[in-house]
């Protein structure tokens, strides 16, 4: 406790140095006209945060599955491909990856004679999806490996090919088991989408930063920001619970 305090004090001091040393909750008091305007401004970033995260999560899940499958192959070459992707991608910190995608990719595209502009929205989506896909791939691999070998063998003996076996026998069972870790990753994406503020996306964190600059009330504004992410995460959790019940992952077997 004392340690935490010692760490927090300079932080409070630093962030608060442009404002006074007292609370100033009026900046986000919805009962006043100016406070309400501020709150509305902050909350209006919600849409971009949600859309960026959702699209990134969908791409990450699809990509993760595609990356996971060679990791389960008998052939060492395929497994090596999987390892290289996972180890490489999951080691890249998000911020440099974001710069690479946003500023680097267009240059590469141009050198290849392609004219594919990358706006902040897609820059953020691609970065989040790529970065997360390495983790999703590992979740899929573990989930598929946890399904007993006999299931694959039974599917083969009734004539199903590889893709049919995955689609109808293995994945429906694996999905129930990996839903909780996938939900974790989704929550992680939502929080990491804050990095999109760096390249100019008007999502939650960017709005908060902008308001801080004009209002000089970082503590109060970031408190509301934390609350906004909390609400998002709680909604996601409730959604995942509902999905788990529907898929029956809460029952044993």
């Amino acid at each position: 406790m004392k340690k935490l305090f010692v760490m927090l004090v300079p932080l409070l001091f630093l962030t608060g140095c442009s404002s006074s040393s007292t609370w100033g909750w009026y900046v986000i008091n919805p009962m006043t006209a100016s406070g309400w305007t501020n709150v509305k401004f902050l909350i209006s970033g919600m849409g971009d945060t949600i859309v960026i995260s959702l699209i990134a999560a969908v791409i990450s899940i699809a990509l993760g599955l595609v990356v996971a499958l060679p990791g389960l192959a008998k052939h060492r070459g395929w497994r090596l491909l999987n390892r290289i992707y996972v180890e490489f991608v999951r080691s890249i910190p998000l911020l440099p990856m974001l710069f690479w995608v946003f500023y680097g990719l267009p240059i590469i595209f141009r050198e290849m004679g392609l004219d594919i502009p990358i706006d902040p929205f897609w820059g953020a989506v691609i970065t989040l999806a790529l970065s997360d896909s390495a983790f999703t791939a590992e979740i899929f691999r573990a989930g598929i490996q946890s399904i007993a070998r006999g299931q694959t063998e039974a599917a083969q003996t009734i004539g199903l090919n590889y893709l049919q076996t995955m689609r109808y026998v293995i994945l429906p069972q694996a999905i129930r088991r990996i839903l909780p870790p996938l939900a974790n990753q989704f929550i992680y994406i939502v929080k990491m989408s804050a990095f999109a503020s760096v390249i100019g996306m008007q999502e939650l964190t960017r709005r908060a930063n902008e308001l801080v600059v004009t209002e000089y009330r970082p503590l109060e504004i970031y408190s509301l920001l934390i609350l906004e992410y909390l609400v998002l995460v709680l909604v996601i959790s409730a959604g995942v619970r509902w999905l788990e019940r529907r898929l029956g992952s809460d029952e044993r077997n």
Partner: protein, 246 residues
Amino acid sequence: MPAAAIELRSVNKWYDTFHVLKDIDLSVGSGEKTVICGPSGSGKSTVVRCINRLEEHQSGSIKVDGVELTNNPQSVAAIRSEVGMVFQQFNLFPHLSVLENLTLGPIKARGLSRQAAEERAMHYLERVKIPEQAKKRPGQLSGGQQQRVAIARSLCMEPKVLLFDEPTSALDPEMISEVLDVMVELAEDGMTMVVVTHEMGFARRVADQMIFMDGGEIVERGTPEEFFGAPRSVRCQKFLSQILQH
């Protein structure tokens, strides 16, 4: 003499350096029933699993209905469509209903319509005497019922040969006979069967050919009369006296 449904010629298989199958020769005529027994680890499962390519053999040849098993995916697919398999652990799909377990193969691998597949499924569920369980999940059934569903699932693919790998070993004693009864009926209807089992009553009743394996070799083979009456090898005599004590 009818063409052999299954023909193994000096089949050898290694797991790394471990020689698990040694020069296996085996011929099963169409409509014949072969029972394989032997101590644990003798390679019984491996033989059966090689016949439908769940395992690969390294030398020798395996022919099913005249088609030789090679790495060619077409030969594997051709043979899998002729050969059904029933596992010790049932291996039913727990997320699907009994009916869906039975129709999955016919619909996806054979291209049957859902209606035709369901009619076929109900036909075979009646044959294994549990049509009333069609809507349940496998987890809601007893072990004996699950194994009968597994047999029906194989039959829905209308195979020419059925392989059984210790189909009653995971069952409580009171459920063994309900599964064996179904197997006896199948045998009487003329299905070609290769059965790994230690149920010697069943073997006496249906087997045309008895095989005893030990250490990866076929040590003894013959008709049930020869086999139970006067086993030639010491290993087989010892094995029989052990399991017949029960």
